[in-house]
Amino acid sequence: MKRAETYLDWNASAPLRPEAAAAIRAALDHCGNPSSVHRWGRAGRRILEEARAAVAALVGAVPEQVIFTSGGTEANNLALAGCGRARLLVSAIEHGSVLEAAPLAERIPVDGDGIVALDALERKLAADPRPALVSVMLANNETGVIEPVAAVAERAHRMGALLHCDAVQAAGKIPLDGRALGADLLTLSAHKLGGPPGIGALVVLRELDLMPQIRGGGQERGRRAGSENLPGIAGFAAAAAAAAAGIAAYDDVRRLRDELERAIAALAPGAVIVGAAAPRLPNTAAIAMPGTPAETQVIALDLDGVMVSAGAACSSGKVRASHVLEAMGAGPELAGSTIRVSLGWSTTETDVARFLAAWAALYRRRRNLAEGMRAA
């Protein structure tokens, strides 16, 4: 019998939505380069432009504002390197693709709940008159904490700065309106919301000259060259439409996540839910089991068929403390013992129960071990 598997690592990658699978399957059967003028090319162009409209609709943008990229990382790189601003300010909890794309950027601190410090941002903006770009994510990938992006945008704009918002983790999980947020640039990734990997977008919500980072045939109105990944784009669009239509499913996800956290608190009074005091995504729980290294937890849970992660997937192979938890002021003890549990639209009560059983078994083993050591 196949062992039951419980996937609770949705923030790393979500399973493909059936609507996206159907759209990809249809587009894979279509052969045509959207830049070609013949009939096959024109059919490809239609798929491309319909998809652009669907992705735009997810964030309240117009189709012309959507630039398809190979994913969130490329979109973040394009925003930061292409905006032409001499000065970059990024929050300390941004994804690696923002932090590494702008290694010289000034860091905006966050408070203990993981919320970006608006007063610090204002001071930094006021201290230097050069035109700046501020980059603050909508929701953090490790903790799920939702940032006050509209307030950040208001301050950035008042000081003549642009605002880039990495909305990769938030899109599809909470309602999203790029203009209400006040973002000038918005990053999206398909595979985090049930689309395929290898496709994302940078949405440019205001008129600005973006310097292309990948040059060539002039696709995407000269802002991103390369033959379009049509099946990926079609899948992205179908997933975006399904995510927008199914956003209410995250009410159930929130209920499950909250139950999970309550059960943990009842089981283990010493456990910590990171960022619990802040507004958070409905699906993410960052849970610390003090005294037990995160790697140990992840391996033990995996042996029980429960899949979670010790942080961001791209760095989860590395044994390194999370920069997000460090920025929130967590000591090495807390940061080193925190795992990320992330749910999604098809997560069930059974999944949560399996996780809790595995987590509780590990917790008891570790407690007994610690008591045994104290007794000896």
Partner: protein
């Protein structure tokens, strides 16, 4: 072979634009599908089974790609396509050299006038950044002169970029000779092999290739995936184009699209296994098409040399007959006037101009790309359609009369 039902009137056009993109091979699709659906893990999630299954699939694909060019799997970096690979090769090498200056700095880049837009545009950007760029002409057959190349490479030359097989005219450059020249002068040799990979034998060791750009959707694989070969011995160092999670050994950040990697790997394996046989078949079809047309269309001319040429590729000038008119007259054929990226543009192909064609002749040229799914019946149908359209055109009639008068 049974006649293709699509050859009747008013049905889907015959696809003869395989340089632009190719139909996904059903065997590639089959390999990819599980990784879209049940095996959706993030390959960088090493802590659980889904992630490890995905990572193993990516590494198998990397081996298949490497094997086709005689490389080590660790020398293959997945990208979003050949355009990104070309950008990464050129800008990556240039930016690394600038950031790590040697006692004798190298800040000169050499390329050809007929390179793909993404190479020329990357070079243009590097020129704006202060690098010196030399764009060499080609001969009338589309090939670069090795003597001119040898003269252009100086002790300050960092990199030479030459397309392996051409996307518009199909000519194959003398890669081994160029590679030997570069190696002797300490110049990095980059080749854009988007059209050549999987269609002609390529060997990075024998050809002294340091960097090679690869595309998935030109070899019946998926769109949105490509690769850059980056030599390890001697080590070629590049600055990344995309920073982030440090995937692909830090050279290319971003979550790897597992189904697309798997598709590229499978497409490479199939292309390798079937290359020899398929090349013979395509060459026979190509020559059949050429001879059928040349017999019936007076003045028909092959753009680019005939000998060193991709098996399925033709670029033909129909003197006096504008390509747009010819294409409109053959609605049952999907052919193009040149590179897809620029095919909506009205100006004549810069590639054909570089071969010395007049604007009129360049504007009278079409590109035909036969592929894995092209049948003999389709080739014959295409020849008939093109010949009939040419015969109907007044300019062609005039030419035809002149031709008769001369013979």
């Amino acid at each position: 072979m049974t006649p293709n039902p699509t050859l009747s009137a008013n049905t889907a056009p015959i696809y003869l634009d395989n340089q632009s993109t190719t139909r996904l091979d059903p065997r590639v699709l089959e390999a990819m599908l599980p990784y879209f659906t049940e095996e959706f893990g993030n390959p960088h999630s090493e802590s659980h089974r889904y992630g490890r299954t995905a990572a193993a699939a990516v590494e198998r694909a990397r081996r298949d790609v490497a094997e086709l060019i005689g490389a080590d799997p660790r020398e293959i970096t997945f990208t979003s396509g050949a355009t990104e690979a070309n950008n990464l090769a050129l800008k990556g090498a240039a930016h690394f050299a600038r950031a790590h200056p040697q006692s004798e700095p190298r800040d000169h880049i050499v390329t050809l006038a007929t390179e793909h837009k993404c190479v020329l545009e990357s070079c243009r950007r590097l020129a704006e950044e202060g690098f010196r760029v030399t764009v060499l002409p080609v001969a009338a057959d589309g090939l670069v002169s090795l003597d001119a190349l040898a003269q252009a490479l100086t002790p300050r030359t960092l990199l030479l970029s030459v397309m392996a097989a051409h996307n518009e005219i199909g000519v194959i450059q003398p890669l081994a000779e160029i590679g030997a020249l570069c190696r002797a002068k300490g110049v990095l040799f980059h080749t854009d092999a988007a059209q050549a990979f999987g269609k002609i034998p390529l060997d990075v060791a024998a050809m002294n290739i340091d960097l090679m750009s690869i595309s998935g959707h030109k070899i019946y694989g998926p769109k949105g995936i490509g690769a850059l070969y980056v030599r390890r011995r001697p080590r070629v160092r590049l600055d990344p184009l995309l920073d982030g999670g440090g995937q692909e050994r830090g050279l290319r950040s971003g979550t790897l699209p597992v189904p697309l990697c798997v598709g590229l790997g499978r497409a490479a394996a199939l292309a390798g296994a079937e290359m020899a046989e398929e090349a013979v078949r395509l060459k026979r079809l190509r020559d059949r098409l050429w001879m059928s047309l040349a017999r019936r269309v007076p003045g028909l001319r092959l753009n680019g040399g005939a000998e060193r040429r991709l098996p399925g590729s033709l670029n033909l000038a129909f003197p006096g007959l504008p390509a747009q008119k010819l294409i409109e007259a053959c609605p049952s054929l999907a052919v193009s006037t040149g590179s897809a990226c620029t095919s909506a543009a009205v100006e004549p192909s810069y590639v054909l101009r570089a071969l010395g064609l007049s604007d009129a002749l360049a504007n009278a040229s079409i590109r035909i790309g036969l592929g894995r799914f092209t049948t003999e019946a389709e080739v014959d149908f295409a020849a008939d359609a093109l010949a009939a359209a040419a015969a109907r055109h007044p300019a062609a009639e005039t030419l035809s009369e002149a031709h008769r008068a001369l013979t």
